[in-house]
Symmetry: C2
Subunit: 219 residues, 2 copies
DNA sequence: ATTATTATTTAGATTTGTCTAAATTATATT
DNA sequence: AATATAATTTAGACAAATCTAAATAATAAT
């Protein structure tokens, strides 16, 4: 099955957001792809028609087996190109994502496999994320880190280690929940507090205690 | 100026067909891009609007200085990727064109220049065609070969060394003219005749004498 | 149980790139 | 010069991917 660039980007985003087996919601995909929810609904109908996702109105989206297979191929291409850019063309790891976002859509299987071979069949990309093999087999993604130890600027909230309702309430009020993407604006050494920002919201600062409880993964 | 993939393909085709300074005609572009003349006219209006081509109804198309500059960038990317595929990924020279046709549209300047460096700044691609440098400077294209000495399967007619009207008439009747693309089907050793084919026409055989007069360039 | 808020979908429109069929212009032939 | 043929353009349509604004459904708050 040959997909358009737009379809591939959707499939990849759904794969990314569908951690474990939760159904992915429309708004999350729209945010991830920097588009509008209405566009996501439109595309959902097409991808369902092509049997790449399961989708019922208002019920969220999950990849079918076929969709997941394709997603893994795209992820494989993306991460292999990232390796190439860093290892062979001396790019730094923060420059490669955008470029790989385009290169991943060049579909030749032979190209991808030759590239992998050329790179010595790497198993992780420059960001530590695992690279699926030619059969789509992928090792479990890297373990989570607490926000206070994270080293990247853009992060995704993947869990909270302290389940106290007071903390959760605070986070909820601030708009922080599972899957929320945050940008680290600044880290203050004097008290190890961290200033963070969520898209379309004002930046705010959280204490070291809080930052220790937020489990994140780099994006 | 950021171009779409379609626009880039048109610009590149016009560059390719516009050898020297002849205006390129609609049908030639349509043939080259495997599309319809009506689509070429539509695109011509857009490219004129963007000041990448000079175009007046029924008068053919030529690149502007700006258009030529962009064409050379695309050609540069295409040929560098072909080098990469052959030299680094062990592709054979007849497999690389299609893939490079996609890779050429990844626009990052930094990527192209790093790639060139990585390859040792090559000056010709696997087909012997010159690679423009980062400033768009390109060495004159390789000299033409007569059809009987050509080594590639797909060729473009670039001239005729014998201008006798009888020969030209014959060629004209067969549909062979400047810019015609031909495929070599077979070469017969017993009399050095060559069976060739033009798109959408039945294959036919030409004698050694004729094949010596047809000047071609590999595609 | 209402009401307010948020998430999602629908309806209708736009842009890009393409097509077919018909009309027009240019070129070649008689 | 008239006519036939070839090249090109126009008119009208379509699919893909997107958007805005309005309608609807689900969820949360009172
Ligand atoms: Mn992409
Ligand atoms: Mn990565
Ligand atoms: Mn191309
Ligand atoms: Mn080439």
């Amino acid at each position: 099955m040959k997909l358009t660039v737009a379809e591939e980007n959707y499939i990849k985003s759904i794969y990314k957001l569908q951690d474990g087996s939760t159904a992915v919601n429309t708004n999350a995909i729209a945010y991830e792809l920097d588009t509008k929810p209405a566009s996501v609904t439109d595309m959902a109908k097409k991808l369902k028609e092509k049997r790449l996702i399961d989708y019922e109105k208002y019920q969220g989206i999950t990849l079918t087996t076929e969709g997941r297979k394709l997603a893994l191929q795209i992820v494989r291409r993306h991460r292999l190109w990232e390796c190439f850019l860093v290892e062979k063309l001396s790019f730094s790891w923060d420059e490669v994502h955008e470029i790989a976002e385009e290169l991943e859509h060049v579909g030749s299987e032979k190209l991808v496999n030759r590239l992998s071979e050329f790179l010595g069949n790497p198993t992780t990309d420059p960001h530590g994320d695992p690279i699926p093999d030619a059969q789509g087999k992928i090792s479990k993604s890297k373990q989570l880190v607490s926000l206070d130890k994270a080293t990247t600027r853009r992060l995704e909230v993947a869990g909270v280690s302290d389940q106290s309702s007071a903390l959760l309430e605070f986070l909820h009020a601030k708009g922080v929940k599972l899957g929320t993407q945050i940008d680290v604006i600044e880290r203050y050494e004097f008290d190890n507090s961290v200033e963070i920002k969520i898209k379309n919201q004002p930046a705010f600062t959280i204490s070291e205690q809080v930052s220790k409880t937020i489990m994140v993964k780099p994006l």
